[in-house]
């Protein structure tokens, strides 16, 4: 983890809402991060907090981020151009557990939750990966084995969890890895836990420090009969779905 001076090498518009920002970081490529980890990007429109963005991919010493323009910071980032410099703090957080060879991994993502799993897939070519991806409409859709949209504008009409139970009944799955809206992940855990114990979820919370000192980004994690608050930025963002307290 370092506060790097990054250099924008590319910023590609994917559609009206999504773009792919590529940042060159002068550091040992092996130190640039693992699937599930994220960076905190410094922007002008957010002076106090940085913007947490997952690693979408890494090649050589270039880190790619897939970003959805939803507000002032993510909009500002959409305007960055080649050769602009940017301060990026990372890699932060705990990664997804490594995939062992041939492990049957089911990835389930919603919207921009696609990003960290993309890097997971690229990192473990020898795992057996099946990917369900869902979104509100076709702008929210990226390559996957099964596509779901709420409005039916692409793939299957419905939530990404539509056929999940059916699929789990019919297929052997070692692990599920998921990132997306909280309600989606909550449903996945509820549906899938009887079939698959190892469900890793990637959580989000508003962050201040990003490095585990302020306890701003707390999430409720089971602790026996009780619970305790863990930090998304340092203890997470990856947690076991069975350990998260979903009702709040």
């Amino acid at each position: 983890m370092k506060d790097h001076k990054g250099l924008i090498v590319n910023n590609i518009k994917l559609n009206d809402h999504y773009y792919l920002l590529s940042i060159k970081i002068d550091d040992d490529p092996k130190e640039l991060g693992l699937a599930g980890q994220f960076y905190e990007l410094k922007v002008k429109s957010s002076q106090r907090f940085r913007v947490p963005i997952s690693i979408y991919d890494i090649h050589d010493n270039i880190v790619d981020f897939m970003i959805k323009d939803i507000g002032k910071a993510t909009h500002e980032l959409s305007l960055y151009k080649k050769n602009d410099s940017i301060s990026v703090l990372g890699p932060l957080g705990k990664p997804f557990t490594e995939a062992i060879n041939n492990q049957k991994c089911l990835l389930i993502t919603g919207g921009v939750g696609y990003a960290p799993l993309n890097y997971f897939k690229n990192t473990f070519p020898h795992a057996t990966i099946t990917w369900f991806h869902g979104g509100a409409n076709k702008d929210e859709v990226f390559p996957a084995d099964r596509i779901y949209t709420n409005d039916g504008s692409e793939g299957i009409k419905g939530f990404v969890t539509l056929d999940l139970e059916q699929y789990l009944k019919e297929n052997m799955v070692d692990r599920i890895l998921t990132c997306g809206p909280r309600i989606m992940m909550k449903n996945i855990v509820q549906i899938a836990l009887p079939y698959v114990k190892d469900i890793e979820v990637s959580l989000e919370e508003y962050m201040a420090c990003g490095i585990g000192v302020c306890f701003g980004c707390a999430v409720k994690i089971k602790n026996g009969e009780d619970f305790l608050y863990k930090t998304v930025c340092k203890d997470g963002p990856i947690f076991q779905g069975s350990e998260v307290i979903w009702d709040e």
Binding site: K42, Q47, R48, F49, I211, V213, C214, F215, C217, A218
Partner: protein
């Protein structure tokens, strides 16, 4: 010559920059050598483990941030066993912040901490609810601040800093009470009470509703309080509230601060305390002045 030398009542520091309780943790050592700080101040601990408040707990506002962490901490015993041990080998002074809900609890905590020789001072957080006084914060009542400080000062020879809440009608009388009670310095300001609402939906941006407001937006208030308190008491002041750069530090020193803490501003720039130390050094060296020479020397007031 080290022009940045400064001190609080019983402690001397190589430079006037420390960190604000609750905004700092050992993790910052990944960014710089923590010995470079004038002092280290740890997050407030309490007698027992505190889980903290429900989320969202933090929110960025136009000019600062809101927090409602709820003093999440492992409790003093766990702190003594693990957290504080991380700071054992630093050579700059270690100041431990603590809080409780009765005067007796405060005293018990101090007694436990006294056993640890590498703790050099205490910052007493009096912004917490006092269960013996209708749950009002200790820090809003000058009589209680006096009583609390008096008891604590009898229990220790180490630096005893009372950290004041700004959410009071008259911070000067509270500071005086701390001085009379035997505090060796005061720290100010803790967070202002603030709030933010999502204008689209009406949802509170912080789960608890009312939260603590910090960052650059509180700076004028902090400066005003440091100035007024400095005019009224003779023990030194550890100042904080919205400091973003060395120029802000100079404002606070002119207002009367001996020592300065960086809080919120670290979040977007983890090495900021070090940048500020270096900038201050340059400023003091090139102007050939010392902190003591300008401390409290604000002028032009009539």
């Amino acid at each position: 010559m080290n022009r940045l030398k400064t001190s609080l009542g019983k402690l001397s520091f190589n430079n006037p920059i420390t960190v604000a309780s609750g905004t700092f943790g050992i993790d910052y050592q990944q960014f710089y050598d923590l010995n470079l700080l004038g002092a280290i101040v740890t997050k407030t601990i309490t007698p027992e483990l505190k889980k903290g408040n429900p989320t969202p707990r933090v929110y960025e506002t136009e000019c600062g941030m809101l927090n409602s962490i709820g003093l999440q901490n492992p409790g003093i015993d766990e702190f003594i066993k693990t957290t504080v041990q991380d700071y054992k080998h630093f050579t700059n002074p270690l100041i431990v912040s603590f809080s409780a809900s009765t005067i007796d609890e405060f005293c018990e905590m101090l007694t436990k901490l006294e056993a640890i020789d590498f703790i050099k001072g205490y910052e007493v957080n009096v912004s917490c609810p006092n269960v013996e006084n209708e749950g009002l914060a200790f820090g809003v009542d000058e009589k209680i601040v006096y009583q609390l400080t008096k008891k604590l000062s009898e229990l220790t020879k180490k630096e005893l800093i009372i950290k004041l809440s700004p959410n009071v009608t008259d911070i000067v009388s509270i500071a005086k009470a701390a001085e009379e009670g035997g505090a060796s310095s005061v720290a100010l300001i803790n967070t202002l009470l603030g709030m933010a609402i999502d204008w689209k939906t009406g949802k509170s941006m912080i789960r608890r509703g009312v939260a603590g407001y910090s960052g650059v937006g509180v700076k004028p208030v902090a400066l005003q309080m440091v100035y007024r308190v400095h005019q009224a008491i003779s023990i030194p002041i550890l100042a904080m509230g919205g400091i973003q750069n060395y120029q802000d530090c100079l404002e606070f020193i002119y207002a009367g601060a001996s020592m300065l803490a960086i809080g919120t501003s670290q979040f977007s720039d983890p090495t900021l305390p070090i940048t500020i130390i270096n900038d201050l050094k340059d400023h003091f060296d090139s102007n050939k002045i010392t902190i003591d020479e300008i401390k409290g020397k604000v002028w032009g007031i009539a």
